[in-house]
């Protein structure tokens, strides 16, 4: 198992999942794959965190799910963004930008001092 796995803040996973679903509906495997793609391989989401997160977002009403047929002709559970979910992306992104900016400031302050 690769050791340099970046661990993420909890809210960040939500953001990544919502981002991964902006274009198409997708199933769990697809979402994990897509997150790996859009983060250029930095984040490999484990099922132990992926599925609870998907169900949590569904509970919150940001995702909706439906059963469909996958590319390899199996029954798969597809998730898609709801209207509330699309709105949530904006909120999550604004939040993330604030956090990352703050962290950046903190790092720079340390290196200067």
């Amino acid at each position: 198992m690769p050791q340099a796995r970046t661990e993420l803040l909890r809210g960040t996973l939500d953001l990544l999942i919502l981002r991964a679903l902006t274009l198409n509906r997708d199933h769990g495997v697809g979402i994990a794959r897509r997150i790996q793609q859009i983060t250029k391989g930095t984040f490999e989401v484990k099922p132990g965190s992926l599925f609870p997160a998907l169900h949590r977002l569904e509970q919150k009403g940001w995702l909706a799910s439906e059963w469909g047929e996958s590319e390899n002709l199996r029954r798969a559970k597809y998730y898609k963004l709801t209207k509330a979910g699309r709105k949530q992306i904006e909120a999550e992104m604004a939040n993330w930008k604030r956090v990352s900016a703050a962290i950046n400031w903190a790092i720079e302050a340390t290196s200067e001092g």
Binding site: G28, V29, K46, P47, G48, S49, F51, P52, H55, R75
Partner: protein, 559 residues
């Protein structure tokens, strides 16, 4: 709310939800295997690798279950089931604890049900907030109150703007003869509109007629429900005779069950019409009731809808000055006013219930001390039994159970005990209160109307006692026993249950249904009845959770 559907689904269509989850995860697994096979790995190896990457299927499922709505409810339910199982496993401890609690909570419930009957339970009177006492105060001597004469009563009843109905009554001790025996009882001598003013329909028969307020009319009597029951409960009682103070009275009605007149708990045994006043009151002055200076009646009226007591008092001062002008000898310097009725007496001066609060508080605190002592004893018992469970708790802590979770489980166990004890206590309380009341009713000259079936207030009160006693006897032991350093106990007493070969059996017994944390993913994965991963996951909140690694961390070999 879109989530309501999901909540209901997860609570009531659980098997379907579980199937879906299973299908979802299997799809994930199969896709991963396929992916690996596409990359050129042969099937068994691909399957193995994918399984290892996924970790325990059960632990993933458990993590999903945890975010589901209703997970909290489910956890409480699990705790309760575990507590019940645990208590059934130690019947001696359980029986003693329940008995102690039944005694403590029962004593409180009994006292509280009396306090409830006395102070809280609404009277069996329609819209009782409209019913007020009418009082007459001497304006020259403000502390002096007097009752009303019959002519004054009639005057006010017929000419006032505030009451929709005004009735008169006086309590009197009378002797009821049956064979050679005479029993002294309280009779309420009332005006003919007594029951209609209070808005109470009779159980049987008719109310008094206006002419029965005059002396010389036929002597009639209405029996209270407890009196009727005690004297045989004859279903054809109407028309029978009752000998009171040597005179024969015809029974014309029975008051409804639960009716206690205008006071709480204690009820007059019979109701007589005003016409019988001079026959049954032992008044040596022997002034007729019709005399304007015979102030013998206590008045209670029902205010017209929408009229406040202040407005009534303003209008009554006009009535008082008119009466003073018409009959100056009897009515000068009198102020009329209304006041809410006391639950305890029928009196010429306005009183409130505050006199009863002190005894009630005293009684309640006495019973409270009993419960407190019971709880302290139980807390000791819990600590002692907890010492025996130290190892169980230590294991749970060592493999990552949160202290809060363990304490919560211990408190749940206490609460289950308290509820069982409370139920037993309630039963004992209603039974003993009934016995007490029956014993007192035999010697006291008034009927007790006391229902031993607990009403909503008594049930709520008992529940409150259960919660309070749980807090007292379970919270502290739970907190103390779940203290994290108890893991030292594990080291101090190495036993076969920690590293012996039958570890799994032991753990299954200790943890099943309890979802204690076991990071031993393999063990847990084999048995669906153990779902320990939840807490393990909480212990390692990072969302990249590797079951194998944490298993290693907790010092157990997996596999």
């Amino acid at each position: 709310m879109p989530n309501l559907k999901l909540l209901l689904r997860s609570l009531f269509r659980k098997s379907r939800v579980e199937q879906d989850l299973d299908a979802e995860l299997h799809f994930y697994l199969e896709t991963q295997i396929q992916q690996k096979m596409d990359a050129g790995i042969d099937e068994p190896e691909a399957r193995r690798a994918a399984r290892i990457e996924l970790g325990s299927l059960e632990s993933v499922k458990d993590a999903v279950r945890d975010v589901r709505m209703g997970a909290g409810m489910e956890r409480i339910w699990q705790d309760i089931r575990y507590a019940v199982r645990g208590l059934l496993n130690k019947p001696g401890y359980t029986v003693v604890a329940v008995l102690v609690l039944a005694l403590g909570i029962g004593a409180n419930s009994a006292v509280f049900s009396l306090v409830n009957a006395f102070l809280l339970k609404p009277l069996e009177v329609a819209n009782s907030s409209q019913v007020v006492g009418l009082y007459s105060r001497d304006t020259k001597h403000p502390g002096r109150y007097r009752a009303f004469s019959y002519p004054n009563y009639v005057e006010i009843r017929d000419h006032n703007p505030v009451f929709s109905s005004l009735m008169a009554q006086q309590l009197s001790l009378v002797g009821v003869q049956k064979g050679n025996r005479t029993r002294r009882i309280f009779a309420d001598i009332v005006s003919s509109n007594y029951f209609s003013t209070l808005g109470v329909p009779l159980l049987e028969g008719r109310s008094f007629r206006a002419e029965e307020e005059k002396p010389g009319a036929e002597l009639t009597v209405i029996e209270s429900y407890p009196f009727w029951k005690r004297t045989g409960g004859d279903p054809r009682i109407l028309g029978r005779k009752l000998r009171i103070n040597g005179h024969l009275f015809t029974v014309i009605g029975i008051a409804p069950k639960g009716f206690t007149g205008t006071t709480a708990l204690m009820s007059p045994e019979t109701f007589l019409p005003l016409g019988a006043f001079n026959l049954v009151t032992n008044d040596f002055e022997s002034k007729p009731l019709s005399a304007r200076d015979n102030n013998a009646l206590i008045l209670i009226g029902r205010l017209k809808p929408g009229i406040t007591q202040e407005e009534a008092n303003a209008s009554l001062s006009v009535v008082a000055s008119r009466m003073a002008k018409e009959f100056p000898a009897a009515n000068k310097d009198q102020q009329l006013f209304v006041h809410s009725l006391s639950r305890f007496n029928i009196s010429t001066d306005p009183t409130n219930n505050s006199g009863m609060y002190m005894p009630a508080i005293l009684l309640m605190s006495l019973a409270g001390v009993v419960l407190l002592i019971a709880c302290l004893n139980l807390a000791n018992m819990m600590m002692a039994s907890g010492a025996a469970r130290r190892k169980e708790i230590a294991i749970r802590l060592a493999i990552g159970g949160s202290r809060r979770r363990i304490a919560q489980q211990l408190v749940t166990e206490g609460f289950v005990l308290a509820m069982v004890g409370g139920a037993a206590g309630l039963f004992a309380a209603s039974w003993s209160a009934k016995l007490l009341m029956a014993a007192m009713a035999r010697v006291l000259p008034f009927g007790f109307v006391y229902s031993s079936t607990p009403d909503v207030r008594v049930l709520a009160g008992t529940l409150a006692f259960c919660v309070a006693s749980t807090v007292v006897f379970a919270l502290f032991p739970a907190w103390k026993l779940s203290k994290p350093n108890t893991w030292l106990d594990l080291k101090a007493t190495p036993g076969r249950d920690v590293n012996g070969c039958n570890r799994r059996v032991f753990l299954a017994r200790q943890c099943a249904g309890n979802r204690t944390t076991l990071a031993i993913a393999h063990d847990a994965g084999r048995s669906r009845s153990i779902r320990p991963q939840r807490l393990a996951r909480r212990q390692y909140p990072a969302w990249v959770f590797d079951a194998k690694r944490s298993a290693r961390r907790s010092g157990c070999k997996s596999g």
